[in-house]
Symmetry: C2
Subunit: 406 residues, 2 copies
């Protein structure tokens, strides 16, 4: 643990069971936790402007080292004053290390792999060589040969000027065997040391660094990794890699791993953000989440909703919504639900009008912001168990805290 | 002239030469003129929400009968409370008759034809038969056979519930010869009578109807058409069809045609909206304009700017903008220019992120709103000639009225 207060100060203001509410103090300002962090993978939260994301209540977004390396490039962003200024964002920024993306090129789509589905994405670029120093690959933008390793990743994140950098790691897929995962975790630990050494020497003074705990679904490997990463001078701990075949396995792995982590630093569960996963993660003590779910669902005409039996979502393209004058979710306080009907969004989705994507992105992001906001309130009030139960049972986030079930 | 005050009341509040400023009173509220009307062709101003369009200062949008007929259909929109309610728009709506689109299928892209360029659009559907009763064509949505004629167009516009309906007309292309144009204008006049008869019998009581003056580039035909349409019981006059090979010819045709129109009713120049065309049209007494320019340019990464030698636009994709920290236009009061750089929009355009389209749509629509706003102020102050000259000379709209040239 380093937890350097110059880079980051983490204040836990309330506890309720294993759940905790707090405040991350970063150079760019405070971030209330538990927090969901929308993805601004390529320097924009897809379909939205930076000011809209702030108006939705978000205080931090996640930018991606791999994509921003390929275009417009870290030198360009540095020359333009860093990623915050480049995208006109006034809040905090955490940057992913690029490890997840570059290993997706090698292992297939790691996002699918985390859920145990084996599928290779075609045409997204290609890995040429994986070695102790990092990964050589071909750019999907211009076909050029590129390299990403621990020092490169930290140098890029330094150029982007994020408030929190993530250490470079290998994100092992679900289908990797125990031996491969064990060797990979060892290398990820060596990479963590190299990341921290580079950052100590050349990193921005106010940038915090989170280490990433790997180990796949193997309890002993997760335990070793949690110990090893916790012992390093990091400012926070992230949980990465495959978490299991299904949600039950995932919850087991997350709960067990979180139990190994130092209680005094922020804990970030990488790439997870469905409504039930958020409340379950918060219940075991996770502070930060990021996920493509709200914006990706929007691009596929899907709305988040309090529907536990349907993965908390529904598909607006279904014919039954063509004449439906209800808002996406009755009672939802978001701008989309205040002004537009399911029928309109059904129509826009069918017509492939980008306004439809936007209206759904606003709703989905508002939904998750309400959900974590409610969780914070519940924890402060010592009522998180009931909140969790009601969200999992189908209460909308804006009612789960106080009114539901009365 | 009918100019029924129950449907529409047009108040001219100031004149300056041939230019006039006024107010259109419609069921949905007032519209200050001269006004630019953004296209909501398919029930959305592309990439924007209805509330954003209102925040930009717009009081009226234009919906399209042809596209909304094919999807989601007038019955659906009527069942959902009309087009205003369907799209969550609080302002006024004018609907195009569908004539322009359906004749584009027959004649090639009439938008190009208006400018004298001959080009056929492929795959956009096909005209099966043009007759005295209307046009039989194949839907680009589902391949079904459809029919649109004067009564159908009025019935659809009645179902959409627009504040102003346009009479069904043939929009003759530039390459049509004088004989074809003369016969076409006659039929357009017969269609106007049929539209008015249908509307008198079955149209919404509060919906105004504008007649359309055709005649191509032929002065005698335009004159005959202006007389004939002015004599009909219409609430306003629109100028449609081809206006010439270039801007000089267009200005001649518009000036001559406007000179023939009754001074007491609103005059709408259809499909025209480049900055110089707006000030030139206003100068000869046009009150309303609609055009795809601001939103279409946005989709092609183009920004409106005070650049008279470059058609008042520039292309953000050009490499020289990659590191440009200036806003799109220095001093522009729009939300995009207040928060974002050319470099960011250049990057978003190259990355094909829809946020880039939106940021440009906001700027381009704000630009034209400022331009007509300035024109209204200038007319009221008796200073329109100087305003026009300064806009044409390269003054930004927000400075052309008072500060420029001091």
């Amino acid at each position: 643990m380093r937890a350097d207060p110059e880079r980051l100060r983490f204040e836990i203001t309330a506890r309720d069971g294993a759940a905790r509410a707090g405040r991350l103090h970063l150079g760019a300002g405070p971030v209330e936790t538990p927090a969901f962090i929308p993805l601004a993978t390529r320097g924009t939260v897809r379909s939205l402007t930076s000011s809209e994301v702030a108006e939705l209540g978000y205080e931090m977004v996640l930018g991606n080292t791999f994509h921003l390396l390929l275009s417009p490039g870290p030198d360009r962003i540095a020359a333009l004053g860093g990623l915050r200024r480049f995208m006109g964002w006034r809040g905090a920024i955490i940057t992913d290390s690029g490890g997840f993306q570059v290993f997706s090129l090698a292992h297939g789509n790691v996002a699918d792999e985390i859920k145990g589905r084996r599928r290779r994405s075609a045409g997204a670029g290609a890995v040429l060589e994986i070695g102790e120093d990092g990964v050589r690959f071909r750019s999907y933008v211009d076909g050029s040969e590129r390299f990403l390793g621990p020092e490169d990743s930290m140098a890029i994140q330094a150029a982007l000027g994020s408030d929190i950098a993530l250490a470079f790691d290998e994100c092992t897929p679900y289908h990797a065997d125990r031996d491969y995962t064990a060797r990979s975790v060892e290398r990820t630990h060596r990479w963590l040391d190299r990341c921290l050494a580079w950052h100590e020497r050349a990193g921005p003074r106010h940038q915090a660094v989170f280490g990433i705990v790997q180990g796949g679904v193997h309890e002993d490997l997760r335990r070793q990794s949690a110990e090893r990463v916790s012992a390093a001078p990091v400012d926070g701990l992230a949980i990465g890699g495959t978490l299991g075949r299904d949600k039950d396995e995932m919850r087991g792995v997350v709960g067990m791993t979180v139990g190994q982590l130092d209680a005094g630093v922020p804990r970030h569960l990488l790439g997870i953000g469905e409504p039930d996963d958020l409340v379950e993660g918060i219940a075991v003590g996770v502070d930060l989440f990021d996920c493509a779910v709200p914006t990706r669902l929007a691009r596929h005409a899907m709305a988040l909703a309090p529907l536990p039996d349907a993965r908390f979502r529904f598909d607006l393209r279904r014919a039954k919504f063509a004449g439906d004058q209800a808002p996406l979710v009755e009672g939802c306080p978001c701008a989309t639900c205040g002004a537009h009907t399911r029928a309109y969004i059904h129509y826009l989705s069918g017509a492939e009008e980008m306004t439809g994507v936007r209206l759904l992105a606003v709703h989905n992001l508002a939904y998750l912001e309400r959900l974590v906001h409610g969780a914070r309130e519940a924890i402060r009030a010592g009522r998180f168990a009931g909140y969790r139960e009601r969200v999992l049972g189908g209460a909308p986030p804006w009612r789960a805290l106080t009114e539901y079930g009365r």
